[in-house]
Symmetry: C2
Subunit: 451 residues, 2 copies
C-alpha cells in the first residue's frame, strides 16, 4: 500500500495544506534553482542536449527553454532545463536521501505551469509534491542503491512524475499509474564518474522527461505497475539491497522533507563547506585577511579525508573543487568560492601559496556527528603568532543556517553573470517575479527572447 | 575492453562483411517486424503513446509513424513504432538472451534511414549491428537480470544506440560514448505484469528513444561512461548477479546472433508452440480434421506445466493464449492460432469442446532438452480408435524450422488485416519494397498517407 499512499498524497495535496514556512522555503528553492538553470548556459553538455531538443522537438511551444531563450513543448523544455540546472553543481541537495530535488522538480513544474496557464500556487504545490515524493523514494532506496545508482536520476523520475501529475490534475489512481510508468523508466549509473563523462546532465534530463511522459500517459489512461517501488519485481527488488518501505510514507503531511533541503553556497565539493564556513567565521571574528594567515588546520570527518585527500595538486577547475587547500584559499581571499572565483583564480600564485598552508586532520567529534551533522572546525595560526579557533555547527545553506533571500538572490545573480545566460536587469526582473509567484494568477515567461 | 570491442564492431561493421544468408535473414526479420508494427494500429497503449508524440513532437518530420500514417522527427517515429511492434506479441525473439530485437532495432533503423536518405544496405547493416549488440548484452546480463528486468527494455537501449550510431556514422570512440549514454538510461521492470499494466510497450518505446538520443548526443561530442556494461558501477554491477563479460564479445564477426533469432508463428505463449506444431504435423500426415480427434495428450517440459497449468478456464483473449487446450483447438480447427482466430473463436462452443479433450503430461526427453531445444510431442486418439504420434524437433519459426518468405508475407498480411492498419494492397506494395530493400539507393516511405 506504500506506493498507493504516496501517490494519493501527491495527487491530493492542496496549497492550503502546506504550512506557510514550507511555502516560503519552496519559493527560496525555486529562485535558487532558477540561478542554477541559467548557470547552465553555454556549457557543452547542456548545449548538446538543447540542440537535440531543437532537432527532435517542435520549433516552438508553450514552455520556456531557459538556456538559448527558445520555447518548446513541455517535454523538451523540461528536458533541457533539467540538464542546465545540474551542471554548475550549485543546485540544492537533501542530505538524508543524497538527492538533488530542484533540478528534476522545477523544470517540470515550470514547463507544465506555463503550458497549462497554471497559477503560482499550483506550481508551488506541485513542486512540494515532487520534493516530498522524490526525497522519500531516495531514502527508501537507501545506501546500497546510491553505491551504483545516481539517486537524482532514479528517484528523480518519480519526483518529476509527481510534479507533472499534480499539475495535470491526476487523481490518486492515475498518479499511481504515473508512478508505475516513471519507475519502470528510472535509470542512472555512477560509472560515468570513472572517465568524467557528461552523464550527470543526461540523468536529470532523462528523469524530468521520463517522469513528465509517465504523467501525461497516465492522464490519458495508460496504466503502470501498482507497486513499482516495493513490489517483488519493482525498483527496490532490482536496484537496492537495503530498501525500507516505511520510509516511503514517513510523516506524509506532517514532516515536510522539502524544508530539510540544503542550499549549496560554495561551488565546491560539499565536504569542503564546513571548514570553509568555519574559516570565514574566524576571519570575520578577528578581522583577518588572507595574508594574515600562516597556517590553517581543518578538523574533519573521515569521509572528507577519503574524498579530498587524494587531491594534492589540482590541475583543473573541476579537480580544484575537491581540493580543501584551494577552496579555503578562495574563501580566504574573496569571502566565497563561487564559479567565478574558481574560474579566474584556482591556480593563481596567491591561491597556490595559501593552498600549501592548509592541512586536514581527523576529528573525533566531527566524525561522530557525520552524516547527521556536518560540523566545521578550523585552527588558524596567524603570521603574528596567534592561534585562533573557528567553528560552525551547520555549514551555510543547511536548514539551521539557511541563506537569506538577499543571499539567494545574490547567488543567482552571480551564477547568471558567470555564465552570461541573462543580464543583471533580466535576472532582477525574473527573480522579482519568482519571489511573488504565490500571488501570480498565471505563471508567465521568466526571460525575454534572446537579447 | 569489452564495451570498447563491442562498440568498435558496431561502428566498423560493413555490409560486405555480413554473409549473404545473414543479410537474407535480416530482410526476413525486417518484413516480419513490419507486420508486427502494423498490428499495433488502434491498440489503446500504442495510440496513447502516439498521441503523446504528436503533442510533444513536431507536426511533421522526415520519418514515418506507421500507426496513424503521420510523420515526425526520428526520435518520435522510433518511439511510436517501437511501442506499436511489441503489442501483438508476434515479434521475433532470441531464445538465448530472451530478448526481442526487432521491436527496438528496426524502428530506429527505419527512422534514421528515412531521415538521412540512407540506402537499404545501410539500413540492413545498422540493423545487424543492433541485433549483434543487443543479443550479446542480453546474454551478458544473464538470468538474474531477467528475473526482475525486462531485457528487451534494458539491452534494447544498447541495441537501439548501436543501430542509430551506425547509421549516423559514429566512429568506435563515439559509439562507445553512445553506449555509455544508452546504458545509463537503460530501464524496464517486470513489476507491471502483476496487474497486467501497459508497460511492455513503454519499455520498447523508451529503449528505442533513449538509444537513439544517446547516439545523436555522441555524434555531437557528448561523452558517456567508457565501461557502462562491465564497469564496477555499470549495468551489470547494478542490475545483475551472474553477468559474464566474455559473452559480450562471443564470436564477434564470425557468430551471427541475428540468424539465431526465432519468428513467432502462433499468437500464443511460446510454451504452446511445440505441441501446436506437433499436432499440425500429425493432422497433416493423417489428413485429420478437428472433428476426427477424440483426445490429445501433449508431452511437455516442466516449464510449460508451470506456466500453462494454472489456466484451466480462460476468460479473456490474453488468458487463452496461455491455455494449451485453446491453442490446440484453434490450430486443429483453423490450421493456425493467429490474432484473428483468438479474437473471433477463443470461446466458441467448438473451441471449448476441443479444449476439454486436451491434456498435458511431463515428458523426460522433452524436459531434458529444454531450453536448448523446444521439442514438441503429441499423442492423438481419433474417434475411429487410432492412436497417432506427432513430433517436431524445433517449433516453427526457430532457426532450424524457419518461416518461408511466403509464410512471413502471409503472417504480415494477417496482422494488418486484423488491426486494420493498412489495406492488403498497401501491405503488398510495402512488403514488396522491403524484400528488395538491399537494392534501394534510398529507403523511402513504406505506406501512404492515411487512407
Amino acid at each position: 500500500m506504500t506506493t498507493a499512499s504516496l501517490a494519493r498524497f501527491a495527487a491530493e495535496l492542496r496549497f492550503e495544506d502546506i504550512p506557510t514556512p514550507v511555502v516560503r522555503r519552496a519559493e527560496d528553492l525555486l529562485v535558487d534553482w532558477f540561478g542554477s538553470a541559467i548557470a547552465g548556459h553555454g556549457t557543452r553538455p547542456v548545449e548538446t542536449i538543447a540542440a537535440f531538443a531543437r532537432a527532435m522537438g517542435p520549433a516552438e511551444g508553450a514552455s520556456e527553454v531557459l538556456v538559448g531563450r527558445g520555447t518548446s513543448s513541455p517535454y523538451f523544455a523540461a528536458m533541457v532545463n533539467a540538464a542546465a540546472s545540474h551542471v554548475a553543481e550549485q543546485d540544492d541537495v537533501h542530505n538524508g536521501s543524497v538527492f538533488h530535488p530542484a533540478t528534476v522538480v522545477f523544470p517540470v513544474a515550470l514547463a507544465w505551469a506555463q503550458a497549462l496557464g497554471a497559477s503560482g500556487q499550483q506550481l508551488l504545490t506541485a513542486a512540494v509534491a515532487g520534493y516530498e515524493v522524490g526525497i522519500r523514494v531516495g531514502e527508501f532506496l537507501g545506501r546500497s542503491h546510491y553505491k551504483v545508482f545516481h539517486t537524482t536520476g532514479t528517484a528523480g523520475t518519480l519526483a518529476a512524475a509527481a510534479t507533472a501529475g499534480h499539475l495535470l490534475g491526476l487523481d490518486a489512481v492515475r498518479m499511481q499509474h504515473a508512478f508505475g510508468s516513471a519507475g519502470t523508466q528510472a535509470a542512472g549509473l555512477w560509472e560515468f564518474l570513472r572517465t568524467a563523462a557528461d552523464s550527470k546532465q543526461l540523468h536529470t534530463a532523462h528523469a524530468a522527461a521520463a517522469g513528465l511522459m509517465a504523467a501525461s500517459l497516465a492522464r490519458d489512461g495508460f496504466t503502470g505497475a501498482a507497486q513499482i517501488l516495493e513490489g517483488s519485481q519493482g525498483m527496490a527488488a532490482g536496484m537496492s539491497s537495503d530498501a525500507d518501505a516505511r520510509k516511503l510514507t514517513d510523516g506524509l503531511g506532517t514532516r515536510w522533507a522539502l524544508a530539510e533541503t540544503s542550499f549549496k553556497y560554495h561551488a565546491s565539493c560539499r565536504h569542503t563547506h564546513p571548514a570553509a564556513d568555519a574559516l570565514l567565521a574566524v576571519m570575520q571574528a578577528h578581522d583577518l585577511r588572507a595574508d594574515d594567515i600562516a597556517e590553517v588546520q581543518t578538523q574533519v570527518h573521515q569521509g572528507a579525508i577519503d574524498v579530498l585527500g587524494p587531491v594534492v595538486d589540482p590541475a583543473t577547475v573541476h579537480q580544484s573543487k575537491f581540493s580543501m587547500g584551494t577552496v579555503l584559499a578562495l574563501v580566504a581571499r574573496f569571502g566565497q568560492a563561487g564559479l567565478a572565483e574558481f574560474d579566474a583564480h584556482f591556480r593563481d600564485d596567491a591561491t597556490r601559496a595559501f593552498h600549501d598552508r592548509v592541512r586536514m586532520a581527523l576529528d573525533a567529534e566531527v566524525d561522530a556527528a557525520y552524516p547527521r551533522r556536518w560540523i566545521g572546525k578550523v585552527t588558524v595560526r596567524t603570521r603574528d603568532g596567534r592561534v585562533l579557533e573557528g567553528r560552525v555547527d551547520e555549514p551555510k545553506g543547511d536548514p539551521g543556517n539557511t541563506l537569506s533571500r538577499d543571499e539567494i538572490t545574490a547567488k543567482a545573480l552571480r551564477l547568471a553573470a558567470f555564465s552570461g545566460g541573462a543580464s543583471e536587469a533580466e535576472m532582477r526582473d525574473a527573480i522579482g517575479a519568482l519571489w511573488r509567484v504565490a500571488d501570480a494568477a498565471k505563471v508567465g515567461r521568466l526571460l525575454g527572447a534572446q537579447a
